[in-house]
């Protein structure tokens, strides 16, 4: 029951052919072999083969929005994190699953990649972030244009969610 749909590189398609790709075609899915090289329109020059934006580390960027400075105390405030978890479960879980890429990225370890200000601005000001923050713009494309919804959190709620994120590794 192996069903295949592949856009392969030249090398892969040659490989597939030599491995009896024809036979696999009998499965009820379909197979497509691309013989040409990748088209120029698909790979704009501006985008070299680097890590996707969701994996990139950018701790200096504070994003665009109301939050300009956040100081994180060394100790996690467990009460605040619990408040944040409740907010998260009601407002965010539909698109951001823990430990799993879903509609949007998983929040696990986000503070190893993003500044706390960027995270809070993305929560509080997503419409402008995807227009004005270059990283948020790229993320929008990586996640198929699914817009980050503005769920109307208060700054305090966003701060609590941030504290909850600190507990997710």
């Amino acid at each position: 029951m192996k069903r295949i749909f592949r856009y392969t590189t030249l090398a892969l398609s040659v490989l597939a052919l030599s491995c009896g790709g024809k036979e696999e075609k009998k499965s009820d899915g379909f197979q497509m072999e691309r013989k040409g090289a990748a088209t120029p329109t698909e790979t704009p020059a501006a985008q070299p083969a680097t890590t996707p934006p969701s994996k990139r580390v950018d701790l200096a960027n504070k994003g665009v929005g109301p939050v300009s400075a956040v100081t994180l105390p060394a100790e996690i405030d467990t009460e605040l994190a619990a408040t944040g978890e409740a907010v998260y479960n009601q407002m965010c879980l539909a698109c951001h699953r823990i430990g799993q890429k879903f509609i949007g990225p998983a929040p696990n370890g986000v503070l190893e990649r993003r500044s706390p200000e960027w995270v809070m601005n993305m929560i509080l000001n997503p419409e402008r972030m995807v227009q004005e923050d270059p990283l948020a713009k790229e993320l929008l494309m990586e996640f198929n244009g699914s817009p980050m919804a503005n769920q109307g959190l208060t700054e305090d709620q966003a701060r609590a969610v941030l504290e909850y994120f600190r507990t997710l590794k």
Binding site: R3, G29, G36, G145
Partner: protein, 651 residues
């Protein structure tokens, strides 16, 4: 020192004056032009230049606007009951909403398209699709009423519809959701390879416009999103965008966005037509409603059709090809010459343009890149004419002005972008407020567009109009496109969600618009075309009232002998033969809508009285100075009473 400041100020003032002037001369660049009001103003008593037929989306209807004024003239009921016009409430039109699922009083109407002759709009009919319970409706523009609805079997989410070929040979309905064909009980996760997508070609009779499913092409289990016919040299072909070529059955938001290219399916319908005319295809059992309204009997009939002719693309080699198109393409639009097929990859930043000539060449030279379920996939670079590179975010739909320009909407970046066919360069862009979906240039889907205005149809209007609670109006925006730069002239609210629209020069349509229905042609079985025949008849517990109406009375207006438990039919004929004199009628406690009866027409409603008493009925449409006198009484006696049946007027 002071002097220097003053001269600086003077210079600054002068400079800003020049600057402002310069901008004004450039025309609007986002700002509204100063004489916009004048350019959309249609003086009292004057007519608009264009009709715009704008779909109602989840209202299920089709609204009729004038352009450039944006004035609403009529909401034509199509797929949803409309108490105002008794559509789907009176006995005559209930069959129009019959389906294989029973009476369905609502649908989601999306894409109107006007009938064509030789690739130009002829103004006879508007076709529109119902998405949810797949149906195609035909609106006759001599009466501005829905006169035919055909259900589409083997289809689901009838979205790549209802577009006509250039001589209205066919109106085409493509399924958005693939489903088991025929429908059957099976696990959902066995979708891949087992679900199919039906593309339905409905022939349209050149004489009476009668619709009939000629054949269904049973395609692989993708989602067929939008479609348009070839024209000119590409007449005989039809093009459909596809997404979900991944054949995912869950979380499509993610899972149908994996492939960097999906397809435009190119269908040579002339070849398939020839195949079926020679006995090709398979007759498959089916069950679908075909509902026809007759303007002489003023009644609809619903017939259940039991068979449909299906064609497997593998049976007709050379009839279907797949053109790789990035990325989950939505809009599928063909330019007025028929050479360019535009695929707007909604998850791509680019617009891909395919060439019909290159496609034929690639087919001839077998430049294939594999196949999908036996359907050849053409090589992307061999069919691509060009790419409009990164003109905006989220390209959706394209229309044409007939002057070599194309206009594409961008949902995410919320704008209309004007670009040149052939050079693919962006010429102009204007913002939309907000999140534009379709756009429409009158005649923009034909060989001869009227390239004067474009109407953008927006999904979101927050803060654009006075607030009306959580639900706010959706809207259209009118731009003048007669110059090099587009100019925003007007916002106007719309009915329901405006998905797509079709526009046409008013002169083509308005001369054909009927003013009355002739009494002598009224073939309604319960019509009373002579006042002398007004009467009441009892058949068991059914009472039939053969009633007439004219300014300003009903005949009869006193009725006795009706009993609790009776089923009372009011069959009411409007004897007026003058333009714009409809009458209405309803009776207290009727569990249905009023009737709104045009001059020369007959309509019926059913009343089942539950309490003895004397109950009034009256005219519901203000008809004359004596409209308030246009009333009557019906006496209801207890079930066991012996009250004699009688009726009268003026006694």
């Amino acid at each position: 020192m002071k002097k220097t400041i003053y001269s600086f100020l003077a210079l600054f003032t002068l400079a800003s004056f020049f600057f402002a002037c310069g901008e004004g001369q450039q025309g609007s660049n986002g700002a509204l032009t100063s004489n916009a009001a004048e350019r959309v103003y249609v003086a009292p008593g004057e007519h608009d230049e264009f009709y715009a037929f704008i779909s109602g989306g989840f209202s299920g209807q089709l609204s009729v606007y004038g352009l450039p004024s944006g004035r609403l003239f009529k909401v034509i009921p199509v797929f949803s009951q409309d108490a105002e016009k008794a559509w789907g409430y009176n006995e005559e039109t209930k069959p129009m909403l019959n389906t294989s699922h029973g009476f369905v009083p609502w649908d989601d109407s999306h894409h109107p398209d006007i009938s064509q002759t030789n690739g130009e709009l002829d103004g006879r009919y508007v076709f529109i699709n119902g998405n949810n319970t797949p149906r195609i409706a035909k609106i006759d523009l001599s009466v501005f009423e829905t006169t035919e609805i055909i259900e589409i079997p083997n289809s689901a989410g009838n979205h790549s519809s209802a577009f006509v070929t250039e001589n209205t040979e066919y109106v085409v309905a493509g399924t958005r959701f693939s489903v088991p064909v025929p429908q059957r009980d099976m696990p959902i996760n066995e979708y891949k390879g087992n679900f199919k997508g039906a593309l339905t070609f409905i022939s349209v009779d050149p004489e009476d416009g009668g619709m009939n499913i000629k054949f269904q092409l049973i395609m692989p289990g993708f989602d067929y999103d939008l479609s348009h016919p070839g024209r000119g040299a590409s007449h005989g072909w039809f093009f459909f965008t596809t997404y979900n070529s991944e054949e995912a059955n869950s979380l499509l938001e993610v899972n149908a966005s994996q492939n960097d290219k999906d397809f435009i399916a190119a269908v040579n319908w002339k070849k398939i037509e020839e195949f079926v005319n020679n006995g090709g295809g398979t007759k498959m059992p089916a069950n679908y409603a075909h509902n026809v309204y007759d303007d002489n009997t003023h009644m609809a009939t619903s017939t259940m059709e039991k068979e449909v002719l299906v064609v497997n693309p593998a049976e007709v080699p050379g009839a279907v090809y797949l053109l790789p198109t990035p990325k989950s393409p939505h809009g599928c639009d063909v330019d007025p010459s028929g050479e360019y097929i535009i695929g707007a990859g909604k998850l791509s930043a680019d617009i891909t343009v395919h060439s019909f000539t290159k496609m034929l060449d690639a087919i001839e030279n077998q430049k294939f890149d594999g196949d999908a379920y036996g359907i050849p996939i053409l090589s992307f670079e061999d069919v691509r004419a060009g790419t409009v590179s990164q003109p905006g975010l989220g390209p959706l739909h394209t229309e044409f002005d007939g002057q070599g320009n194309a206009y594409t909407t961008f949902f995410i970046s919320s704008e209309v972008v004007k670009w040149k066919l052939g050079t693919w360069e962006v010429v102009d862009r204007q913002p939309c407020f907000y999140s534009v979906g379709h756009l429409m240039i009158p005649g923009g889907n034909s060989r001869k567009p009227f390239g004067k205005y474009v109407v953008a149809m927006n999904k979101i209007t927050k803060d654009r109009y006075l607030p009306t609670g959580p639900e706010v109006t959706q809207s259209a925006q009118l731009y003048d496109i007669s110059g090099e730069k587009m100019e925003l002239l007007l916002d106007f609210p719309t009915v329901g969600e405006p998905h797509y629209a079709a526009g046409i020069a008013a002169d083509i349509v308005k001369e054909r618009s009927r003013k009355i229905f002739e009494l002598q042609n009224n073939k309604h079985p319960f019509a009373v075309t002579s006042d002398a025949d007004a009467r009441v008849e009892r058949k068991g517990n059914e009472v039939h009232i053969y009633m007439t109406m004219i300014r300003s009375h009903f005949n009869p207006d006193n009725i006795e002998g009706v009993k609790v438990g009776d089923k009372v039919f009011f069959h009411v004929t409007n004897l007026e033969q003058d333009y714009d004199v409809p009458h209405g009628i309803s009776v207290i406690g009727a569990n249905t809508s009023e009737l709104l009866i045009m001059p020369g027409q007959t309509e019926s409603f059913v009343w089942e009285p539950k309490q003895p008493g004397v109950w009034p009925f009256y005219c519901t449409d203000f008809c004359s100075a004596l409209h308030q006198e246009m009333q009557g009484y019906i006496r209801v006696s207890p079930a066991a009473s012996g009250t004699e049946l009688k009726w009268s007027l003026g006694e």
